[in-house]
């Protein structure tokens, strides 16, 4: 293995010292949400202990300090994903809210009856349902590009579905159910050749690879802080400035206005136009701390280490009789979804939990993917930079033993 400082990193995460059912915790449910380093936890405690007040209002010292930290986090996010301007970084609750925001503002303004929205067959429910709701409201049509048995987008079919009625392409960057990393640059080039904007759901991709929104040339990129070692309660909507400028606001309230009279309201400039109400200030500050922490480690080093973990886990899993991996795309992130012959994922989850191993068992908010593979659910081990080969060995040993017990 590379000399990635995994032991040093583990020591930064207090929860990794936790015992579960008297055994050391092996946390392999990172795709659902990942754990927080002490610097992130401390940043929240520090804010509330020393700097907290509401942001963007008031001239008193604490309000200024709080605003500085809050806006400082915006700059960190901007640099982290290489956006060209802070105005393109909108704080929202999470990836789900970001997609709903786009559907209800950009979508309502630009998508009409008979128009088409193109997604893929591997989307999370949060990149399906907001579009179905928009379709219901507008009479637009949702189109779904199919995947193959490896869990890869069938690109030729995707291109065929790009029609002169397509108004938006909304695609997951990395699938949470399969681990597949989509060929997003190709997708974007293809859509842009027809002047169709592209939204990338980066909820899973963001903690695993360097994201450069300018290089990708995506029109929207959304993600949640809680999957990026930051607190839950904050997420990011990145949008190209011209698109965001042209979009109507999402919610009305404080902070998003410039001037209010009972006759009319003048909306605030970007990014505040989309940030009505008091935001989750401490969570935003925590996101800034998480980004600092990740920058110190380096996303490239992290990605290389996780690739080794995934390759190792995949190799080990293939040696287990009766185990079938769900999702074997050539381009894959650190997710191992699997089923066992005659053993339900829920039983796998409970049995592994008794060994201190946390995995996810279920449909992963991607029911159409389960239908495609004709399984009710899968078991999913998802890795983060603090996981180790030894933990994967324990997982495999656990799986072997439970197969034996079920007999």
């Amino acid at each position: 293995m590379t000399n990635f400082p995994v032991e040093k990193i583990r020591a930064d995460f207090p929860i990794l010292a936790e015992k579960i059912r008297n055994k050391p915790l092996i946390y392999l449910d990172n795709a659902a949400t990942c754990q927080k380093p002490k610097v992130v936890i401390d940043s929240i405690v520090h804010l509330y202990s020393h700097d907290y007040a509401n942001v963007h209002r008031g001239v008193h010292t604490l309000s200024v300090r709080s605003t500085d930290k809050f806006e400082g986090a915006r700059t960190k996010v901007k640099e982290f994903i290489n956006a060209s301007n802070e105005k393109e970084i909108i704080f929202v609750k999470g990836a789900t809210e970001a997609i709903n925001l786009i559907a209800q503002t950009y979508g309502k303004a630009n998508i009409k009856a008979g128009d088409e929205i193109l997604i893929t067959a591997m989307e999370h429910h949060s990149n399906i349902v907001p579009w179905q709701m928009l379709c219901e409201q507008t009479g637009a049509v949702l189109k779904v590009a199919p995947i193959n048995l490896q869990g890869e987008l069938i690109f030729a079919e995707f291109e065929k579905l790009l029609s002169d009625k397509t108004r938006l392409v909304a695609v997951v960057h990395m699938s949470n159910a399969l681990g597949t990393i989509n060929p997003v640059k190709k997708i974007i080039a293809s859509a842009h050749s027809k002047n169709i904007p592209v939204l990338l759901d980066g909820a899973q991709a963001i903690p695993h690879m360097k994201i450069d929104v300018q290089d990708l040339d995506c029109d929207f990129y959304v993600f949640s802080g809680h999957k990026l070692y930051a607190p839950a309660g904050v997420g990011i909507l990145y949008g190209k400035r011209a698109l965001l400028e042209a979009m109507p606001p999402y919610q009305g309230g404080g902070d998003m206005i410039r001037k209010v009279t009972f006759a009319e309201t003048e909306y605030n400039a970007l990014p505040y136009k989309f940030e009505a109400g008091t935001p989750s200030i401490a969570d935003v500050v925590g996101l800034g701390a998480a980004i600092d922490y990740l920058n110190e480690i380096g996303m490239d080093a992290l990605a290389a280490y996780e690739a080794e973990l995934l390759a190792y886990a995949t190799e080990q899993a293939k040696h287990i009789k009766g185990l079938r991996i769900i999702g074997e795309a050539a381009e894959k992130g650190a997710i191992l979804s699997f089923v066992l012959d005659k053993i339900h994922p829920h039983d796998i989850g409970t049995m592994l939990d008794s060994l201190g191993i946390a995995i996810r068992a279920g449909h992963h908010c991607a029911m159409p993917v389960m239908v495609f593979y004709q399984v009710p659910a899968t078991a999913r081990a998802s890795f983060a930079m603090y996981n180790t080969k030894q933990e994967i060995d324990s997982l495999m040993e656990g799986i072997r033993s439970l197969i034996e017990v079920f007999g």
Partner: protein, 150 residues
């Protein structure tokens, strides 16, 4: 290796999971209801044959985890010959057994079903055990709609 789980996964449960009883379609069923647990994707179809108020036959089809399979398998065995009212009473006792925290289990009343008492320590798994019974309840009330544990 799985010592902690002995209360949850008793040998009887493995046995019913491997060889579920009354696992068949019933062509001449009087009642047929589907149960669904959206959390884990468990699905089952329950069939009942009634004579007056009495359940004379019960069978099921579907796929689920070991707990839910064993639960429905045991249930189809135990309700045969019981009246509608007796089955509903049993459901009540079963429900108390699987959800009640401190209550004494009335071993006599639940009989074989006692092997499922272990789920009370696993809140995430209670629905696996009760899905069968919610489905039965709907069938006895002659509700045609699919039952969901959510």
């Amino acid at each position: 290796m799985f010592d902690d789980l002995r209360d949850l996964y008793q040998e009887v449960i493995f046995d019913h999971n491997r060889n579920p009883r009354n696992f068949r379609v019933m062509d001449n069923a009087d009642r047929k209801v589907e149960g669904f647990n959206p959390l884990c994707g468990d699905r089952l179809t329950l069939y009942l044959k009634m004579e007056g108020e009495t359940i004379v036959d019960a069978s099921f089809q579907g796929s689920g985890c070991a707990i839910s399979t064993a639960s429905v398998s045991l249930m189809t065995e135990i309700v045969k010959g019981k009246t509608d009212q007796e089955a509903q009473d049993l459901f009540k006792i079963f429900h108390e057994m699987t959800t009640g925290k401190d209550e004494q289990i009335n071993l006599e009343a639940v009989g074989k079903l006692a092997v499922l008492a272990g789920v009370r320590e696993y809140p995430a798994r209670v629905k696996c055990a009760t899905l069968a019974w919610h489905t039965l309840d709907a069938a006895l009330k002659n509700e045609q709609n699919a039952v969901s544990t959510e």
